[in-house]
Amino acid sequence: MPKREEDRILREWTPIILRSILIVAMVVLGAGLVLTYTFAPDYYVERYQAAQHGHLIGKEPVGLLFDRVRQGNPHAVLTIGLFVLTLVPLARVAFCFMLFVRERDYTYVALTAYVLAGLIVGALAGSAG
């Protein structure tokens, strides 16, 4: 694939990826806040005051999180919204990686693979630590 064509694909698709995931994340977060305000305002104030003292909920298993979303738990909806937001860079780098693989541009395959691995290792290190 010529360099200009590769550049065109990147410039056309990257904004679409960024904007789409950002909109989805903002909608989920907005919905989570509305649900919290409607069904669990006291819980919100309790968590806010706990955060002021540095007390956080800590790690939550992903499976449990989705179960809570299905039950309409507002806090779980907010957490899912934040996870969706962190998908923005992951999805963008993964897209570049696949494009460079298709183009057989192995220097950039290696570079984007390193960045992708860094993002994944970071998440794994966080959940292990």
């Binding site: 360099k3 990147l10 410039r11 056309e12 990257t14 904004p15 960024l18 904007r19 995931i21 950002l22 994340a25 903002m26 977060l29 907005g30 989570g32 806040l33 919290t36 305000y37 305002p41 006291d42 919100y44 104030v45 968590r47 806010y48 955060a51 002021q52 003292h53 540095g54 956080l56 909920i57 800590g58 790690k59 806090h75 907010l78 957490t79 919204g81 934040l82 996870f83 937001l85 962190t86 923005v88 860079p89 992951l90 963008r92 570049c96 220097t107 950039y108 570079l111 984007t112 390193y114 960045v115 860094g118 993002l119 970071g122 998440a123 794994l124 290190a125 966080g126 959940s127 630590g129």
Partner: protein
């Protein structure tokens, strides 16, 4: 709850707005706003800020990428350095004492103030170095009259070294480290200033994303704080980017410097009075 939510949204919208018109990003302002006005511990503010920085970077990058300001290949090369620094920084943020974080934050504010004062014009090169040529980093950018201006890139390893530091600061302090990134690209690698700013903005998403993933996976993000902050900072940044073309930013530069110096003084004072 409504009062808290309105306060958080107001702080976040303000931070996002000033971050966008100053070009320094929302993280620089939301962390001290949460610490000083919402009385949040530094680590809680850092976690919430990292998430919001991902959002503002995504929002602001769209137009820059589409219009050809962002050098995507330079971003991909330098992201290797920033991700490395950010993951290490975010990991360390869980163990580094708050006093150190506050002192580092004050130092970064002084660096941002210095950068805002000394921001210089373009120094475009017509010959790149061999590594930059091998990585095909040279590109073109539209000038004011719409003509394409060709520029070359040099000193990739030196720029990359500073990017590791930028990533480290981002993961530790919850900021995008935009001032450090732009300095590396503009001063060291000789990219045009607007390309440096657009590319830095684009890279900030991955840098902050790496840190945010560590914080989220570790359970160190206060969801109730991070959610309204992410929405508010994004809205503020969007409003700021709309207003920006109609503002005389040069005349506001002194205001930004004063705000940065005040934040540096406040964070430094907090750190030293807590020792």
């Amino acid at each position: 709850m409504l009062e808290i939510l309105i306060d958080l949204l107001a702080l976040a919208v303000g931070a996002g707005f000033i971050g966008a018109i100053s070009g320094l990003g929302g993280g620089v302002f939301i962390v001290p706003a949460l610490v000083i006005f919402a009385h949040m511990p530094m680590q809680v503010a850092v976690g919430a800020s990292l998430i919001s920085v991902v959002a503002t970077s995504a929002g602001a990058s769209v137009a820059f990428v589409r219009d050809g300001w962002t050098n995507l290949k330079v971003a991909m090369v330098l992201e290797c350095a920033t991700v490395t620094g950010a993951v290490i920084g975010a990991y360390l943020a869980g163990v580094v004492p708050t006093v150190v974080l506050e002192l580092l934050f004050a130092a970064m504010m002084l660096q941002s103030a210095y950068f805002t004062v000394t921001k210089r014009g373009d120094d475009i090169l017509t010959k790149g170095d061999p590594l930059a040529e091998r990585l095909e980093l040279a590109s073109e950018v539209p000038d004011l009259s719409g003509n394409l201006l060709h520029y070359e890139v040099v000193n990739v390893p030196q720029g990359g070294a500073l990017m590791v530091v930028a990533g480290l600061m981002s993961g530790l302090l919850g900021i995008g480290s935009g001032a450090l990134k732009v300095m590396a690209m503009d001063y060291i690698m000789h990219l045009p200033l607007k390309v440096s700013s657009a590319t830095s903005n684009f890279m900030i998403g991955v840098t902050a994303g790496a840190g945010a993933l560590v914080f989220l996976a570790r359970g160190d993000v206060a969801t109730t704080i991070a959610a309204p902050v992410a929405i508010g900072v994004t809205a503020g940044a969007l409003a700021g980017s709309r207003v920006l073309p109609h503002l005389k930013v040069e005349s506001l530069r002194i205001v930004f410097v004063i705000i940065l110096l005040l934040i540096a003084a406040e964070m430094g004072w907090r750190a030293l009075s807590g020792i």
